[in-house]
Symmetry: C2
Subunit: 423 residues, 2 copies
């Protein structure tokens, strides 16, 4: 596509990460450098576009934009707002183009996962249909690391580093107190793919080191096998640190987190499930292994732990944002930037690109042969894959109170140029 004249828009979508702001910084700085008109941002992703809640990212100032490289969560604002197909949700797509047109937006950079790439793809299609000149580029982001066609996803290296470290530290806690608190279960994010749980396996440098057992959604979970695994671990080293992805499920596909009642009967668990899979496994350990068990659930804190983010991850997040703009400035549209690993040792990584539609309709699970035969830990291949992504630490600015200083953007909304719209 020829390089259109007009303005840029960048938006963030889905679950925050430690480095999605680094991608935003890459987009904004490069767009300003390439002089692609004014650089706007949407507040709260596509929801902000629908509501015409836009702000001038360039007006935030160079220091604030640079500080995004060391700021967690989604500083532009994010959303969980899935837009369906062009047929089902045509009004939404029309509205988006209405807002784009009102602000002469000709470049759209969408930082997100599967659903966001789908939205971006549909939008690009519609723009072509209605002859609205628009360049659309996707910037990958997800802690879940489950986007297809890219070696890994920005956001993953940081959650991997933090959760492996947390397993290591909480594992040492269990090691010190095993005479009282013998077992610990840590629950990680990961509904469909076990990449985060898998990363904690790297902390298991020796037999003594936590985690001793790691369960991923990729392997059907059996309570009987789990109880046997824990008992075996207790026999060998007298304690057991367990990591389980929130999405582990039995052979029939039922989530273990939902199995409280069926596994133990109503009298034991009641009707409403509080807590998650970690609490279910804790109860299994206490009732069936008869060992005291603790449950750790970092929850959202795991994906925004900037204070121990991976520098490799942060730098790559910046790179894919910058690269998306460079490609757009050269007239490329309808692609997501990818990461291509050239070598693991020494680690070398470059960027590529893939059509948005191909990303939207695929996902990527942990390969079965990167999980051990017993289905309760990772293999050396998986370690070698993950380790380079966790290397280096982002230098956090620390305030006079001993706590990190993270930038908050002003986000002064532009005047609205279109009719009121409810979204």
């Amino acid at each position: 596509m020829a390089k259109p004249r007009g303005n840029c828009l960048v938006a963030q979508s889905g679950g925050p990460t430690a480095v999605i702001n680094s991608s935003a910084a890459g987009v904004i700085q490069e767009a300003l450098k390439q002089k692609l008109g004014r650089v706007f941002a949407a507040r709260n992703g596509i929801l902000g576009v629908l509501r015409e809640e836009l702000f001038d990212a360039g007006a935030e100032g160079a220091a604030a934009i640079e500080a995004l490289r060391r700021a967690p969560s989604a500083a532009l604002g994010s959303c969980r707002f899935k837009i369906k197909s062009l047929e089902e949700s045509r009004a939404h797509y029309d509205r988006i183009l209405e807002v784009f047109n009102a602000h002469d937006i000709r470049y759209f950079f969408y930082i997100g996962g599967n659903d966001s790439m789908d939205t971006a793809d549909k939008l690009a299609q519609l723009a072509r249909q209605v002859n609205y000149e628009l360049i659309v580029m996707g910037v990958p982001k997800t802690i879940d690391n489950d986007l297809a066609h890219t070696d890994h996803c920005p956001g993953y290296g940081s959650v991997a580093k933090y959760m492996a470290t947390t397993a290591m530290e909480a594992g040492l806690d269990t090691e010190a107190l095993y005479t009282a608190d013998t077992c610990t279960v840590m629950e990680t994010m990961g509904r469909n793919a076990g990449w985060i749980a898998a990363a904690t396996g790297v902390a298991h440098r020796t037999e003594q080191d936590a985690p001793h057992l790691v369960y991923l959604p990729e392997v059907p979970f059996s309570i009987e096998k789990f109880v046997a695994d824990v008992k075996d671990c207790l026999r060998r080293i007298g304690r057991c640190f367990i990591v389980a992805a929130e999405g582990i499920a039995d052979a029939s596909g039922q989530y273990i987190a939902d199995q409280g009642a069926s596994a133990f009967g109503k009298d034991a668990f009641g009707h409403t499930q509080l807590g998650g899979v970690g609490d279910v496994l804790k109860t299994i350990v206490e009732q069936q292994v008869r060992a005291k068990c603790r449950s750790v659930r970092p929850s959202t804190a795991q994906r925004v732990a900037e204070h121990f983010a991976s520098k490799t991850d942060s730098d790559e997040a910046y790179l894919v944002g910058k690269k998306a703009v460079q490609l757009a400035a050269a007239g490329t549209s309808g692609y997501m930037v990818t990461l291509i690993r050239k070598s693991s040792s020494p680690y070398r990584c470059t960027t590529g690109m893939i059509e948005l539609a191909q990303v939207a309709n695929a996902d990527r699970k942990v390969p079965r042969d990167w999980i051990n035969d017993a289905g309760n830990h990772i293999t050396p291949e998986l370690r070698d894959y993950i380790i380079p992504l966790m290397r280096g630490e982002v230098k956090t600015q620390i305030g006079r109170d001993g706590l990190p200083v993270y930038v908050r953007l002003q986000r002064r909304l532009l005047e609205k140029n279109t009719p009121e719209y409810k979204a």
Copy 2:
């Protein structure tokens, strides 16, 4: 007391912290320097003494002992084993002296909290009664910060820094996604005292910053008031990040964590409570405020987060260990080393000492006038108290895999010189 000839023993007790090993390093290094005989350590606290499971800390090597200053959890091993009064548990105390005598232990340094100081005090009493020459010194340790007669407790500054940072980061997550996940509850440790929950309040630098509501055990908790607080916060800023200590209780003293069934009836919650107070509050928010709520429970990970420990805390932990040995070498016995704050700004702190018996029978809660009138946040006085304790970062050694490297001691057990003893 005259300075006896003989050996030293150091032991750790109770919940691990990020800096209890720093105290052990202070004791061991200073005892070696003062040439107080051989420097032994007990594996797993007083349990290791009873079982005569001792090892030569000096034999671990200077590098390993120095590395303890940057290692989380309790490297000597810890335990939860409460010994009662001399009358009730005389056999235990006799056994301890039997083991001490077998290894000519004349200096005992016990790093722990209330219960440990009580045990140390009783042991000192019995030693006097039976004319066993023994110097006993207590080294304070507790993340709960609830020991009396000391300005603060080693271990607290680090958990404070980590949990305030976690509230800040997870708070930014809620801020980015408030259109979907509007509220978040983070549960902190603290059964009887709210110091840890209080520390997170420091992250609330502006009205926008999390946490917006902080609940401590020191103020009776009302569900009605809580629901009103959350609704008010949502009206003001559209989201709400809540921190609650695990020990919050209603006016009758019943823990909120135990109130699932009574607050909602069996049909809603069932009989067995999974999860903790965070999950109860999450359910209240979802049922009574009708807002989506997340629950974060760092659990044991909070107290051993070495990767973001406070340098001030770590240095003071080392200092109290070293000081205990210096006092012992001068013939002092029956005291715990304390921290005395000379000034908050600039922060200056020195050591003092207090009789073990006085520590054993007191605790220290957050003063009511350091909590706001509404009982849902901290006052500036409390901020000023906490901030100096969180300053500085411990430099963690990072391995080739991007994860911290923490020392594990060899702990080669000494040959046993006493009859078999079951404990």
